[in-house]
Assembly symmetry: C2
Homo-oligomer: 361 residues x 2
């Protein structure tokens, strides 16, 4: 995970804007609602920032220009981590971020993004849309005058780039790794030293030995960042962000003031972008991975089983502790945990067993 740090370190001037963005202008004249969308991303950042652009464009397109949404990158209107409050008080009508940024408001928020060894992207959609997750998320954000919606997913993220081989649990001790959030919390419990650095400093820090390892997102974003030039080994699998949901949030009063058709358009545009971003990562990651392997000779490695088991046990502890913070977090944890447990059983004869049958000798 990296988004917390995008803001400071990453320039985005040369990056392409989502293809849909051009569609709004023509309908400009008849806009009944002019909205500002504040985001936690640098404007036009690939995948995440362009997803926000696509969301704005879709709302404009489906509403025939009745709603016009102007996207602001992090810091343009408000700083990245003030968007929650800004939309809550109505400074902006909507925002695009990810719920784990708001764990200061409620620890439970993290379940609506991703947690280590948790649900995959597809399973998150099952829990959110048909397993009770959306109702809980809506209840939580209503306390802040917000309406939430999933609006993007990166899919499973990678375990990171390493300059030190991990052959045992012992090798995690003293490991200086850039890994924020719950993943960092778990690394610390394993004896490692989680470091927080902005995205733009990762390359240099890894190259000059300030850190031993760093995670980022996955092949698509990692290739663009050039991390393969600074690291000896590319380790896998990812374990700390198995299917990170990006969110849209809309000011509740503004949303409730819309006619029913526009309410439906706004919420369904979020659903479309939620699916589309995951599809984009699912298409771009394989191509980028191939480039990393064949062109840049990246050395793919696997964590030994005992390391995975240790990280998994520590993750379960860390996630369970969220439930102890307050009553609402406990309720969300129960719902999530039950869905995860059932999903594992189904995965064990469904998705996982299929992928093994298809991909392994």
């Amino acid at each position: 995970m990296q988004r917390r740090d995008f803001i400071k370190g990453v320039g985005a001037g040369s990056l392409a804007v989502g293809a849909l963005t051009g569609g709004i202008g023509s309908a400009h004249a008849k806009a009944e609602y002019k909205w500002k969308m504040v985001t936690t991303w640098p404007k036009n950042f690939p995948g995440l920032g362009t997803g926000a652009n696509n969301l704005a464009a879709l709302i404009g397109e489906m509403s025939g220009g009745r709603i016009e949404v102007k996207v602001f990158g992090a810091g343009e209107l408000v700083p990245a981590f003030e968007i929650f409050d800004a939309v809550s008080r109505g400074t902006a009508e909507m925002g695009h971020g990810s719920a784990y940024y708001w764990k200061g408001k409620s620890e439970a928020a993290q379940f609506f993004s991703t947690v280590p060894f948790g649900l995959t992207a597809q399973e998150m959609n099952g829990w959110i849309y048909h397993g009770g997750g959306m109702e809980l998320w809506t209840e939580l954000y209503a306390q802040f005058g917000l309406v939430p919606a999933p609006a993007g997913n990166t899919g499973v993220q990678m375990g990171g780039w390493f300059n030190k081989e991990i052959n045992s649990v012992e090798d995690l001790k003293g490991l200086k790794m850039r890994i924020p959030g719950l993943g960092g919390e778990v690394l610390a419990r394993a004896g490692g030293i989680p470091v927080n650095l902005p995205g733009g400093e990762l390359f240099t820090a890894l190259q000059n030995g300030t850190i031993d390892a760093t995670e980022w997102v996955g092949p698509y974003n990692d290739l663009a960042f050039g991390l393969y030039k600074a690291a000896k080994y590319y380790y896998y699998p990812g374990w700390h962000e198995p299917g990170t949901i990006l969110e849209a949030m809309i000011n509740k009063k503004v949303y409730e003031g819309l006619p029913a058709d526009l309410q439906s358009i706004v919420m369904n545009a979020c659903k479309v972008v939620n699916q589309d971003m995951l599809a984009e990562y699912t298409a771009r990651n394989p191509v980028a991975l191939q480039t990393l392997i064949t062109k840049h000779n990246v050395d793919l490695r696997r964590f030994p089983d005992d390391v995975i088991l240790k990280l998994r046990a520590l993750s379960e502890e860390a996630v369970a502790e969220i439930a102890q913070k307050d009553e609402f977090s406990s309720k969300v944890y129960s719902s999530y945990k039950k869905f995860l447990s059932q999903s594992k059983e189904w995965s064990g004869i469904g998705e996982l067993t299929y992928l093994q049958a298809r991909d392994q000798a």
Copy 2:
């Protein structure tokens, strides 16, 4: 796979209608477009038929009632397997089915549903939306005056219910199994006897020994069908339908006659339903599986590795032969095959490796 046979054998009178369906009525008075949607499903059939209902309701809701879509079950307006021609000639404005039903029009159509040992649901979305699949599908259907769109996915389907144990490739010889389409073609190549039976006859045929085995969909639909009462063993994994896309098709002239906002609403409603149906199966399957195991003591089994390897090799042959039928099928096969090959590599350090790390000891 079962949908080809729903039509004859399955009553649907008692099944719930999708929650959204109620929303259209209020906007009835101002409908500018009154459309008929013909489907290959019995009306209101869970997951598939209710998905079609949701699609119609969403279009009504987002358009503020400007488009009103009335859904017809199989046989109500035209028989199930005439919906392609009916929408093509404009008897109905749109349809809901699955592309492999139209292999008589082009063998390539099968790639836009699912093929044995092919892409998962998530990967299909990657290929379709960001990997060139949509362009090919659009090109194919344009020849028939149709605009296609993904509009639902069952996720990975199960390998089926068996009364005869499969301990080796030899045990497939002479196996009478109800398995239509490419799956049946592969079973025949392995020496088995694929049987085609309507859904409503499966239970009795399995119980009285007319067939040794049958596939259907997955836990959610299989539980409702009561197949656990007729079969000794529940085998896995599924291999023949790893992520079946349901489709919407719209008459091209009708579509092109819509203003841009309504075009966008129709196509995006399809995207919403595409994601929603997969989320529904992802949430319902785990719960149904748990009921099958704990309440009905279903005996889960696994095909031996040599059986999987044999089925996989035969599937690759069968799928490759589609490419030889005509030039367009060859073009689609090339695109699909390249995406599949890259996806396997990515899955091998992404989704598959993550699920192993999370779910296995």
